[in-house]
Symmetry: C2
Subunit: 156 residues, 2 copies
DNA sequence: CACCTTGAGTTCCAAAAGGGAACTTTGCTA
DNA sequence: TAGCAAAGTTCCCTTTTGGAACTCAAGGTG
């Protein structure tokens, strides 16, 4: 399989990965959620080379995950911001961070903590069911074919 | 930055990505959650080349995300299964699928649906707060430095 | 017994992607 | 006039993929 075909697979994992399934892209998004907006600051904080960064930002913009908007006119300078579609990736980032906190934290503990503004407490993200609000773990889920499933073979 | 340094960064995103931040790795895990276990079946379902698959599986095993266990002795054959550490990636996969369902679904709709065994309903995954159980979105979260944060500079 | 099949890899080579560093462009500032 | 800053591009060389063929061990088949 070549990556240019990924976005056309009948699988939401594959389609999502066609947008964000790349280390640099996820790291760029991490910074974006921490309110980094400018080319040079992404470069400085990530240690990414400029031409890779330019490519990733261009892709994120073309996918509608970020927008490139001018923040000054003379000379023209642009910054990158998350769109609503990009903000929806928050759950993906939180899930990734949480797994790292559980399984990859160093001796000194977590690098970041999260406070829930609504209740004021430090918290861990928990996946729950939109219907009953109960916790959802791997064994609680049964996977069924949906309307967009491939015809005969079972692909996810 | 080279990838071999990623796992040593003081950031749970970076550390998680050092394990799963690769398209093929995530697709292998998707299949693993759908109960695929054998080398040939991963190959067939993903269209991945054999030597890339071998490398990814070896890495997942060395990270403790999967285990390689024999399922027959003569001739010796092995299969790959998720460990508890691997099963904990479920939230990451669910978050990725859900974003794809929201933003990348084709005209025919979702390829897969999820049923919550506990309540019996088809559901969407929702991220919630471990303390108050309320929904958590990007704007509800305040990020603070934790004990494992880098000294002076602020990196996530 | 000679040969074919299966599962799980490994090896080889050409093509694509990535890392590093220097160069470009536009206008501002000393 | 020179220097600087932000945001990219270009060039070149190294590393990683994709694709296909080859290996190995143990059965099964005629």
């Amino acid at each position: 399989m070549r990556w240019d075909r990924l976005g056309r697979e009948a699988c939401s994992v594959a389609r999502t990965l066609s947008v964000i399934g790349d280390r640099w892209t996820l790291l760029v998004l991490r910074e974006a959620f921490l309110r980094v907006r400018r080319f040079e600051e992404f470069e400085r904080r990530l240690g990414i080379t400029r031409h890779i960064l330019a490519g990733r930002l261009k892709q994120l913009v073309s996918e509608g995950v970020m927008v490139r908007i001018p923040y000054q006119v003379r000379p023209k300078r642009y910054e990158y911001r998350l769109t609503p579609k990009g903000l929806d990736l928050h759950m993906v980032l939180m899930a990734i961070v949480h797994w790292g906190d559980l399984h990859m934290a160093g001796a000194r503990g977590r690098p970041k903590l999260f406070k829930h503004r609504a209740c004021g407490h430090l918290f861990d993200p928990v996946l729950s069911c939109s219907v009953c609000r109960g916790t959802v773990t791997a064994r609680d889920v049964r996977v069924l074919d949906g309307p967009g499933a491939p015809e005969a073979a079972s692909e996810s």
